[in-house]
Amino acid sequence: MDFRMTEEQELLIQSLEELLEREAPESLMAELDEKKEFPYQSWQALADHGILGLGIPEEYGGTPADIMTMTLVCETLGKYAFPLGIVYSLGMITILDIVQFGSKEIKAEVLGGFVQGDPPVALGITEPQAGSDSAALKTRADFDGEDVIFNGQKMYCTLSKQAKYILLMTRDSKIENPYEGISMWMVPTDSPGLRFNQVSKLGWWSVPTYEVYIENTRVPKKSLVGEMNCGWPQLMANFEIERLALCAASVGAAEAAFEDAAAYANQRVQFGKPIGSFQAVQHILTDMAVKIENMRNYIYKIAWMMDNDQPVRLEHALCKLYVARAAFEVCDDAMQILGGLGYTTDHRVQRLWRDVRLMRIGGGTDEIMYNIAGPQILKRAKKERG
């Protein structure tokens, strides 16, 4: 096993760290969070730096990159500017679906725009009655000549108002097996009949989320992404990468919270000495450090497995389950060490705490991760026993 980064990865991450210090400083992230504004300027800086092109074919302006490199990028974004890490991670599933299944025309328009700094394509899957049970969706597509007309409602459609397109999932109710009746469409967000209602959330304030009402929204049939009624397996093809990316961003956030807590423990004097000199605080910091090390090892291993074409169905569920919890626990412990200061809105730890909490819900809840992992564990045990 070789745990070292390649020289190219080291240089890229060093360069990205410097870019984020220049273009996405903590003061700006705090200000945008308070104003609930999307970090357009910092996002554009990532595009100008070529970060958004990673993993996108060169013919669309991208640069080849393996999943390990993209994981390191997500971790770094998460550490320096968590909202950028979220946006980048959310983009992975839709952008990579387009790379894999989009027509040439869609690729040229969407990938070309993304590489130049467009916000990522929003994913329209969750509906009021279809959350973890994604296949229960009801949004429908009806054909009219060369057009297709959509009707329905989407929930928790993050960035749908900022994005130029929604990757809209619809279902043909005439097909009994829902997994065989779902289709994927590229729908411009300025299409007539789309209405957005912003959802008020505990965190992710710079990354707005919307309910989307869809009434007789019409697009050409060529907006289909991939094959008709193959939307579900197409979406699943890149869900694991999105989860890994969200995990990596969360690890970065946990690292930031840890560094704040460790620095504060050295600096804050109570009872005549720094609070870090008390065993109670040292133990908390040590537990945090163990969790960060475990989380990093976990995400790097999954990235390595994916780069080496190994199946990660069980591993990614275990990783997501562990990282979502551990990252939040680290942020929570950081808040504990920072005491009253950590609970004030002046300090970024409260923001990380609010933002990272969603990781146990978004991208697949803890409970869904158990549902994925449990049967896989039993299946593997049966196989090993022969």
């Binding site: 190219e8 240089l11 990205l16």
Partner: protein, 258 residues
């Protein structure tokens, strides 16, 4: 316009350790491209981009400079090629020796229009090499250059001096040392980083330069010591501003400062 940019590696200041006896340890220091040389590299790349031409980066030193990652780092920042003069005899080279070796390497590189150096090295900051190099090459030589523009085959440069900005026309070829505010160094992206490993690198030793015994250090470093760190007294003065000011004056008198 063909540009040669000279640079020096330096230890990361944050990694320098001071031992108990005040001596300096660089054992754990990460080395990088000198922070003042990054601006020279950026200026060189911009000049070549604006006028058409190529940028050759040049560094001289011991084996340490022949570091694969640092070579990629350098080339990812825009230079088209890199030449290194690698020789253990160049370990801790003084400014005179560095200038002699750079000058001879530049002669060997062939035709060029301008040589750029940083304001000074990031470790010793003598600010001498650029000036000595120009003298060795017998070329117009300027330091404190904060702006460079090409005009009709010559360069119009600005020098930031204490009370004024001097604007000069410089015939080519010339040797210029640039200030840190000339340009903000670019940050290489993945494309540039991947391209860097494909760019040509030449490696010479002192023997390749026919220096005829001219390559000698003239400075002998006897020891390097960090100044003693005084413990801060960390006195907090309570009370109103007037009372605190009175108390502060008392403390300063007691310490013999007032």
């Amino acid at each position: 316009m063909n540009v040669i940019v000279c640079y020096k590696l330096a230890p990361d200041a944050g990694d320098i350790e001071v031992r108990n006896d005040g001596s300096i340890s660089l054992e754990r220091a990460e080395w990088g491209i000198g922070s003042f040389d990054l601006q020279a590299i950026e200026a060189g790349v911009r000049l070549a981009e604006a006028t058409g031409g190529k940028v050759t980066a040049l560094s001289v030193g011991p084996q340490k400079i022949n570091n694969s990652k640092l070579k990629k780092d350098l080339l990812s920042r825009g230079p088209d090629e890199l030449t290194l003069v690698v020789d253990e005899a160049l370990n801790n080279a003084d400014t005179a020796l560095t200038a002699v070796v750079l000058a001879q390497a530049i002669r060997k590189l062939g035709a060029f229009d301008v040589v750029l150096c940083g304001e000074g090295s990031a470790d010793l900051y003598f600010q001498q090499v650029g000036l000595q190099l120009g003298e060795r090459l017998g070329l117009p030589t300027l330091n404190a250059v904060s702006k460079i523009e090409e005009e009709d085959g010559a360069l119009i440069v600005e020098r930031s001096l204490e009370d004024e900005v001097e604007v000069l026309e410089v015939p080519l070829p010339a040797v210029l040392s640039v200030t840190t505010d000339i340009h903000s160094p670019r940050l290489p992206g993945m494309k540039e980083i991947l391209k860097a490993s494909k760019k040509p690198v030449s490696e010479w030793s002192l023997a390749d330069l026919d220096l005829d015994g001219a390559a000698k250090n003239r400075l002998e470093t006897i020891s390097t010591r960090a100044p003693k760190q005084a413990q801060r007294k960390q006195v907090l003065i309570p009370g109103s501003p007037e009372e605190a000011a009175q108390a502060l004056v008392g403390y300063l008198k007691k310490e013999g400062i007032l």
